[in-house]
């Protein structure tokens, strides 16, 4: 299993980073070595996992620094479209990424992770929620994301797929907002990503949603066209998508393979 | 209606201690320099400032005993004319005057009628519908008086009633105030730093210095027998203190003067009126019993006269015309001789304190 994947990594690196790996030139070509700092705008649901990946990246490519700008996917896409000084963009859904890619603001997006939804409840599950159907109870306060962001689209689709009618008390602007309301015990339930449940630890409990009734979202990552450090940006994109260590970290945080 | 004050009032580190009984139908002026505590006394009578020791009684009823009894201003039958009058700028003159009756329970209509009657009594009905910003200082003074009188107070308190006025209008307003005060049946307490106000308006003057009463008397008492150099200076005379025996006064600080009353002996004070001192370039000859030398200390022009302060034993003040200044060639340091008749020296016993 290991060998083919390493080979695949090497192959794809050559394919997607032509500037850095022209022909048979070694990865360490002096003119193309990743160095310096980049800024990565990433979906809020990547808040916990991306810094870990960045640490591994920086160890792999000494001399690089990665800093982050986390936010709702739509917000960070708007920022890129408005010319924010960002090198890499990673969103929580393909449609949001296409808003930037179609406008020519990013390179070709690569899908690097997949996520599914879960119901998060405050520790102890005060409202006694056992499944999606409970969210339509009038005494249950539910937080979801605004439809403009991927976790909100996913929540809407989730309710539609399962044929339930939910009246949320708040439409948060990113998934961390939902998680925060759940952890503060201000709502009884929130629709978040399974990865959020995992990163919240014991502060929340959750109910899994059966796979056949669940909604998935895939995460694309791309370089930003006007980025100031394209070499390192391309290296980071490739690293997230193809490196064994980055993908291993994503698995450890509960993200699934998108392919 | 009598006010009996026997109290100490503390504000910060400053204490005012006063014992006095104020009679009805009398205008009592509290005269003193700035910071002497006279306004504090007024505020204590009004109930705006609790006392720290003693009692204040109004008509034998204790209104403040520095302990469990304290009647707030609303329960004391007082009318206050504050310094600068403090007319409510957002209310018309009518509403200003009606404010007291309204606050004491009169109906809107009755209060307005009373206000208009009070304004008519003071002869300022023409101001009824104006705002305080549209009237002169003298008019404001009358409106403030009307406002204070409209509640039919037993005690009228005036804080520097003329200080806000310019010199030109002050005399006319004072004369008018005198008329209104003389028709007021209750106690009037008038706080002022201007001796003219005290002398012209008051029946009795309490002089306060540094929180204590230093003199309590009629305006004539103050003029003839000032208790302190401050009072003497207010009256424009020189106060000498010393010991009298056998028709001679040994003045504290040097000098001996002849006095007319040979029977007086012991500690006395005497007043030297500037008009009774005559100045000469050479040692004069004549009937004056007192002749002594000195030098000119300073010259102070005052209206059409010049006050000459003389360094001598004893030092006195003389008043001369500007022409005399030129004739005698008076400048600071000029050697000069003075003469004064013994009968012009009014000697009296030093006050106990």
């Amino acid at each position: 299993m290991r060998r083919p994947r390493t080979a695949l990594l090497a192959l794809t690196l050559v394919a997607v980073i032509p500037g850095a790996f022209v022909g048979t030139q070694p990865v360490t070509a002096a003119t193309a070595a990743p160095t310096g700092s980049i800024t990565v705008s990433a979906a809020a649901s990547l808040t916990d996992v991306f810094p870990v990946i960045a640490a591994a990246f920086q160890k792999r490519f000494p001399g690089t620094t990665v800093s982050f700008n986390f936010g709702g996917s739509s917000a960070i896409v708007e920022q890129v479209n408005a010319g924010a000084p960002v090198d890499v963009l990673a969103t929580a859904s393909e449609p949001t990424m296409w808003k930037a890619a179609n406008a020519g603001h990013t390179g070709r997006p690569l899908l690097f992770a997949k996520n599914t939804m879960a119901i998060a409840m405050p520790a102890g599950n005060p409202a006694g929620i056992t499944g999606l159907a409970d969210l339509s109870r009038s005494d249950v306060l539910t937080a979801v994301c605004a439809v403009a962001v991927p976790c909100g689209t996913a929540a809407r689709d989730l309710f539609a797929t399962n044929g339930i009618s939910v009246r949320p008390v708040t439409f948060e602007l990113d998934v961390r907002g939902v998680l925060g309301k759940v952890m503060a015990d201000e709502v009884d339930a929130g629709i978040v990503y399974v990865t959020d449940v995992r990163s919240a630890g014991s502060a929340v409990t959750s109910v899994a949603i059966p796979a056949d009734r669940n909604v998935t979202t895939t995460y694309p990552i791309a370089t930003v066209t006007d980025g100031r450090n394209p070499v390192t940006a391309r290296a980071f994109v490739a690293y997230v998508r193809y490196s064994r260590s980055a993908q291993g970290i994503l698995r450890a945080y509960g993200f699934a393979k998108p392919w | 209606m009598t006010i009996a004050v026997d109290a100490s009032i503390t504000r910060g580190t400053f204490t005012v201690t006063v014992a006095a009984e104020l009679e009805p139908g009398m205008v009592v002026a509290v005269l003193g320099p700035n910071g002497s505590g006279k306004s504090t006394l007024l505020r204590a009578i009004a109930g705006l400032q609790p006392i720290s020791a003693g009692t204040i009684r109004i008509d034998d009823v204790v209104v403040d005993d520095a302990g469990h009894v304290f009647a707030p201003p609303q329960e004391r039958a007082i009318g206050l004319v504050p310094q600068d009058y403090a007319l409510f700028p957002h209310l018309t003159v009518r509403d200003n005057v009606a404010f007291g009756p309204r606050s004491r329970g009169a109906g809107r209509r009755a209060a307005a009628d009373l206000a208009e009657a009070t304004l008519a009594r003071l002869g300022i009905s023409d101001l009824t519908d104006r705002k305080p910003g549209q009237i002169s200082g003298g008019q404001a003074q009358r409106v403030a008086l009307a406002r204070a009188l409209a509640t039919d107070p037993a005690i009228l308190l005036l804080d520097e009633p003329l200080a806000a006025l310019d010199v030109e209008s002050r005399d006319a307003v004072r004369a008018e105030l005198d008329i209104h005060l003389s028709t007021f049946a209750g106690c009037t307490v008038l706080v002022t730093h201007d001796p003219l106000d005290a002398l012209l308006l008051a029946d009795r003057v309490l002089v306060i210095e540094e929180g204590r009463i230093v003199q309590d008397g009629t305006p004539a008492d103050l003029a003839h027998q000032p208790a302190t150099t401050y009072v003497a200076a207010l009256m424009g005379v020189t106060l000498l203190r010393g010991s009298a025996h056998d028709g001679l006064l040994s003045v504290d600080g040097g000098g001996v003067l002849h006095i007319a009353d040979a029977d007086v002996s012991g500690r006395v004070q005497c007043v030297v009126r500037p008009e009774s001192v005559t100045l000469h370039r050479q040692e004069p000859e004549g009937s004056a019993r007192n002749i002594w030398p000195g030098t000119v200390g300073s010259l102070q022009p005052s209206h059409d006269r010049v006050r000459v302060l003389i360094d001598a034993a004893p030092g006195v003040v003389a008043v001369v015309t500007p022409a005399a200044v030129a004739e005698l060639g008076l400048v600071k340091g000029t050697p000069i001789w003075m003469s004064m008749k013994a009968v012009d020296l009014a000697v009296y016993r030093s006050p106990a304190h």
Partner: protein, 266 residues
């Protein structure tokens, strides 16, 4: 004749002054320039925009009324230094002014949230939950905006000549009458200035509102939240809503200009 004595305009004040002016005015012009004037009427008359505008006006005015009713008395207590440790109290009052509004939101959750210090009893005893309600929005706005009113009014009470109140007291007025008929009319310009400042801050409140009250159209989604939410999906709608909010503010300033400018310069 007097035209020779023009007021001096030194360059060291003119240049930075004009930079400051440009800095303040440029974004405003840019917003107007980018506004989707063609679609603006349909955007601002959409139910979402009208709901947000109505909600913003209702909550900001309610918050201002609440702040006035309880804030003016506190300003008076501070000015007269009748509370123990007045300096400490004043510092506490100013805290919400200095804090990031999000932190204010977190603090409000700690106090009035469903598991909050006070909120848990409100919830268990009366079933009252403030987060996610319009009342919660009012609370968040009042918390953040009231210090502006208090500080303005404290200054006014402090500089008020005490002789007016003394005169009223000696005329027999109760302390309530003195306050109502003398003190408040005398500080009216400052009261208006403070209320306008407070209202403007409440109208613009975002961080504490979204943290404490959430973001629900028609219930807690005020104009700033609507603008920010729109920014996630439709930039031109966000700009149109911003123009609408700007219009409301300008209209109020114009209506109040006489009083407000007088009060601000006093």
């Amino acid at each position: 004749m007097s035209s020779r004595r023009i007021s001096p305009r030194p360059a060291f004040l003119m240049v930075p002054g004009i930079i400051a002016l440009a800095f303040l005015v440029l974004p405003l012009l840019a917003l107007l320039w980018q506004a989707p004037w063609g679609d603006i009427t349909s955007i601002v008359s959409s139910p979402l925009a009208l709901d947000a505008l109505r909600l913003s006006l209702v909550t900001s005015l309610t918050a201002t009324a609440f702040a006035t009713v309880v804030g003016v008395p506190l300003a008076w207590l501070l000015a007269r230094e009748v509370l123990p440790a007045t300096r400490l109290v004043r510092a506490l009052v100013i805290v919400p002014l200095l804090l990031p509004p999000v932190v204010s939101g977190v603090m409000l959750l700690s106090a009035f949230g469903r598991r909050g210090f006070v909120g848990q009893y409100l919830y268990s005893a009366f079933g009252i939950q403030l987060p996610f309600t319009t009342a919660g929005v009012v609370l968040a706005e009042a918390f953040v905006a009231m210090p502006f009113l208090i500080i303005t009014l404290e200054g006014a009470f402090r500089s008020l000549d005490r002789r007016y109140e003394d005169a009223a007291i000696t005329l027999g007025a109760s302390s309530w009458t003195v306050f109502r008929r003398v003190t408040v009319p005398l500080i009216a310009p400052s009261l208006l200035a403070g209320a306008v400042l407070c209202w403007a801050r409440a109208l613009g409140e975002f961080g504490a509102t979204i943290t404490f009250a959430g973001n629900l159209p028609g219930v807690t989604q005020t104009m700033p939240l609507a603008v920010y939410s729109a920014l996630e999906s439709d930039r031109s709608a966000a700009i149109a809503l911003s123009v609408l909010l700007l219009g409301v503010c300008v209209a109020v300033l114009v209506a109040l200009r006489g009083y407000y400018l007088k009060g601000a310069s006093a």
